[in-house]
C-alpha cells in the first residue's frame, strides 16, 4: 500500500514538474540580463534584473513602428477579454432565455441555426470572415476584434442547459405570483444564474484574452495589438538580432499568461464547475 502511494506521488510530481517547470524557468529567466542568458542558458534561479526587465517591456515603445508598449498591449488584451466575456454572457443569456422560456413559432429552426455554429470553428471560415470585416470597414477596431468572436453558440448552450435545470415549478409559482417575462428574468433568473454567469464570464475571459488568429488578422495597426497577438512580432524581431532579448521575450510571455493563469487559480472552483458541471 505504502509503496503504491509512493509511486503515485512520484508520477504526480513528475507531472507537476512537466507542467510547472517551463513556467518557472520562464519567470526566473526573465529576471536575468539578455547577455547573461545568452552565455549561461536558461535559469531556475532569480536574477537581479526583474523590475528593470518588466519596466522596459511594459513601457518601452517597440514593434516595427516603435509605438506600441507592453502596457498598451495589456490594455488591449484586457479590452478584448472583458468585452468578449461580457458580450458572451449578455447575448447568450438573453438568447437562452428566449429558447427555454418562450413558446414561439420559429423556436426549432432558431435552435438549429444557433446550434449549427458549433460545427464550424472560426478557423475554417477565416478568410471569408476577414473579407466580411473588410467590407464592413471593421478591421483595426475593437468592434471588429470582439464582435465576430461572439458568433458561436457555446455560451448559449451553457445557459440553456442551466435554465433547463431550473425546476419548472419556479416559473409556475412565479406566474401564479403575477410575474411577467421581464419580472421573472430580473427577479428570479438573473439572481439564480449568478454563479453560472461568473463561471462563464471567467471561462470566456480566458478564451478571449488568449485569442490569436483572429486578432492577427483583424489588427494590422500596432496600437490595437494584444499581448498574445504581439508574441509573434516579438519573435520575428528577436530572431534577427545577435544577442536576442530572451529576457524581454520571457517577460512578455509571463505578462501574457499572468492574468488568465491568475484567474484560473483564484477562481479554480468556479472555473472547473463551469467547465464540467454546467447541468447542475
Amino acid at each position: 500500500m505504502y509503496r503504491t502511494k509512493f509511486f503515485d506521488h512520484v508520477i504526480l510530481l513528475s507531472g507537476v514538474f512537466l507542467m510547472v517547470g517551463p513556467l518557472l524557468v520562464a519567470l526566473m529567466t526573465s529576471s536575468h540580463e539578455a547577455a547573461d542568458i545568452h552565455r549561461n542558458g536558461l535559469s531556475i534561479l532569480p536574477g537581479g534584473h526583474f523590475i528593470e526587465t518588466y519596466e522596459t517591456v511594459l513601457t518601452k515603445e517597440g514593434g516595427f513602428t516603435g509605438k506600441i508598449t507592453g502596457l498598451r498591449m495589456m490594455m488591449n488584451s484586457l479590452i478584448l477579454g472583458l468585452g468578449f466575456a461580457a458580450g458572451k454572457v449578455l447575448l447568450s443569456m438573453l438568447a437562452a432565455y428566449a429558447l427555454v422560456y418562450f413558446r414561439f413559432r420559429f423556436a426549432t429552426i432558431t435552435f438549429w441555426m444557433i446550434f449549427t455554429t458549433l460545427l464550424l470553428p472560426l478557423e475554417v471560415r477565416i478568410l471569408p470572415s476577414y473579407e466580411v470585416m473588410n467590407t464592413l470597414h471593421l478591421t483595426n477596431t475593437y468592434t471588429g476584434l470582439i464582435v465576430p468572436l461572439l458568433a458561436s453558440a457555446t455560451g448559449t448552450f451553457y445557459f440553456r442547459q442551466f435554465f433547463k435545470s431550473i425546476p419548472d415549478e419556479l416559473l409556475e409559482a412565479a406566474r401564479i405570483d403575477g410575474a411577467g417575462p421581464f419580472k421573472f428574468f430580473i427577479d428570479v433568473i438573473v439572481p439564480l444564474s449568478k454563479t453560472m454567469m461568473a463561471a462563464i464570464f471567467i471561462i470566456m475571459f480566458v478564451y478571449g484574452w488568449n485569442q490569436y488568429l483572429w486578432p492577427t488578422l483583424m489588427t494590422t495597426e500596432e496600437g490595437f495589438f494584444t499581448l498574445v497577438r504581439g508574441i509573434k512580432q516579438i519573435l520575428l524581431v528577436w530572431v534577427g538580432s545577435n544577442i536576442p532579448d530572451y529576457n524581454q521575450a520571457f517577460a512578455l510571455a509571463i505578462l501574457a499568461m499572468l492574468p488568465p493563469v491568475m484567474i484560473v487559480m483564484i477562481f479554480q472552483r468556479w472555473f472547473i464547475k463551469g467547465l464540467t458541471e454546467s447541468d447542475k
Partner: protein, 328 residues
C-alpha cells in the same frame, strides 16, 4: 448523477472550436430538447427581441462568411483584382491533386492522432493518480491545471525557448543521446517540438475532465468493485474505465478539434511564416494560401474541405464510437 460528463447532455467547455457540442446535443434527443419547459411564456415579440442580438451576429459573422466560403470555392479570382470567373470544381481538383496538399493532410492526420493520444493518456494517468492520493490532492490539482490558461502561441513561445538552439535545455538534453535537434530547420525535429508543445498545452484540460469524471463515480460502485475484484489494475480496466468512457469519448472529440484547429497559434509561432520546409497542418495551409498567397478560390476550397472533414468526423465518431460507450 452529480457529475456532467457521466450524465448525458451537457455542453462542456468553451468549445474552442467545433464539433464537441454536437454529440452532447445528439444525446439529448434534439427534438424533445428544443422546447424545455412545461409552461412557457406566450408573447408574439419578446422572444425575437431577446434573440435578436445573437441572431444578428450569427448571421453577419457566421452564415454570411460560411456561404461566401462555399461560393468563392467555385470561382477563380483574377490576380489583378478584375472580378472572378466560375470554374466549377477546378479549385477542388487542383487542391486534391497537389502533392503538397496531400503531404500536409498526411502530416495533419499523424499530428492529430499523436497529440490526441498523448494528451489524453497523460491527462488520464495524472487524473487517476491525483484521484488516488489523499495528501496534497488539492495542491496537485491546482499545479496541474494552470497551463490550461496559457494561450497556444504563448505556449509556442515557451516551446521555442525550450527548444532554442543556444539556450534550450531540451536540445541539450537530446544532445546527451546524440540527437542534434534543429527545431525550425529539420522537418522532423520541428514536428516533434510542435507535438510536444501541443500535448503540453492540452494535458490540463483532459486532466480536469478526467478528474471530475473519476470523482463523479459513486463511492458505492468503487466499493462494490473492491469486493468483487482484488487487482487494482483489473478494477481500473473493467470498472473505472468503462464508467469514464463518456468523458473519454467527449474528450476525444474535443482533443481532435483542438489538434486540428486550436494548435494554429503553436504552429504559427514555431514555423514563423517560413512554412516552406516545415511541417504545417491543414488549417495553417488555408491561412497561408488565403492571406500570404492570395489564392482566394483555393483557400476557400480548402476551407470547405475542412468543413466537410469536421462534419464527417462528427458523424463518424458519433455513430461508431458512441455506440460502444456506456451511458447510464
Amino acid at each position: 448523477m452529480t457529475h456532467a460528463p457521466l450524465s448525458s447532455p451537457t455542453p462542456a467547455a468553451p468549445f474552442p472550436s467545433g464539433a464537441g457540442g454536437l454529440f452532447r446535443r445528439f444525446k439529448a434527443r434534439p427534438s424533445e430538447d428544443t422546447s424545455a419547459k412545461r409552461v412557457q411564456f406566450n408573447s408574439p415579440l419578446l422572444p425575437y427581441l431577446f434573440l435578436a442580438p445573437q441572431m444578428a451576429i450569427i448571421f453577419i459573422f457566421f452564415y454570411w462568411p460560411s456561404v461566401q466560403a462555399i461560393q468563392s470555392s467555385f470561382y477563380l479570382e483574377d490576380p489583378f483584382g478584375f472580378g472572378s470567373s466560375f470554374v466549377g470544381l477546378a479549385n477542388y481538383t487542383d487542391v486534391l491533386k497537389s502533392n503538397e496538399y496531400l503531404g500536409i493532410a498526411r502530416f495533419t492526420a499523424v499530428f492529430t492522432a499523436l497529440v490526441t493520444f498523448f494528451s489524453l493518456s497523460i491527462g488520464l494517468l495524472l487524473a487517476v493518480k491525483a484521484d488516488g492520493v489523499i495528501r496534497g490532492n488539492a495542491a496537485y490539482k491546482t499545479l496541474l491545471i494552470w497551463v490550461y490558461a496559457i494561450a497556444p502561441p504563448v505556449a509556442g513561445l515557451m516551446g521555442m525557448m525550450m527548444f532554442d538552439q543556444h539556450i534550450g535545455p531540451l536540445v541539450k538534453f537530446a544532445g546527451l543521446f546524440g540527437w542534434e535537434m534543429k527545431v525550425g530547420l529539420n522537418y522532423n525535429d520541428t514536428a516533434f517540438a510542435m507535438i510536444v508543445v501541443s500535448v503540453w498545452k492540452q494535458i490540463p484540460y483532459n486532466f480536469i475532465f478526467f478528474l471530475s469524471g473519476l470523482q463523479g463515480i459513486p463511492v458505492s460502485v468503487r466499493e462494490a468493485a473492491i469486493m468483487d475484484c482484488r487487482s487494482g489494475l483489473r478494477r481500473f480496466w473493467t470498472v473505472i474505465l468503462p464508467l469514464l468512457a463518456p468523458t473519454a469519448f467527449f474528450l476525444l472529440i474535443i482533443n481532435t478539434t483542438y489538434a486540428l484547429f486550436d494548435t494554429f497559434g503553436v504552429i504559427d509561432v514555431i514555423v514563423k511564416d517560413k512554412a516552406a520546409n516545415n511541417p504545417i497542418t491543414l488549417v495553417y495551409k488555408v491561412y497561408m494560401d488565403g492571406f500570404r498567397g492570395n489564392d482566394l478560390g483555393g483557400s476557400s476550397a480548402q476551407s470547405v474541405i475542412l468543413m466537410i472533414i469536421v462534419f464527417v468526423l462528427t458523424i463518424f465518431q458519433f455513430r461508431f464510437i458512441e455506440r460502444r460507450v456506456h451511458y447510464n
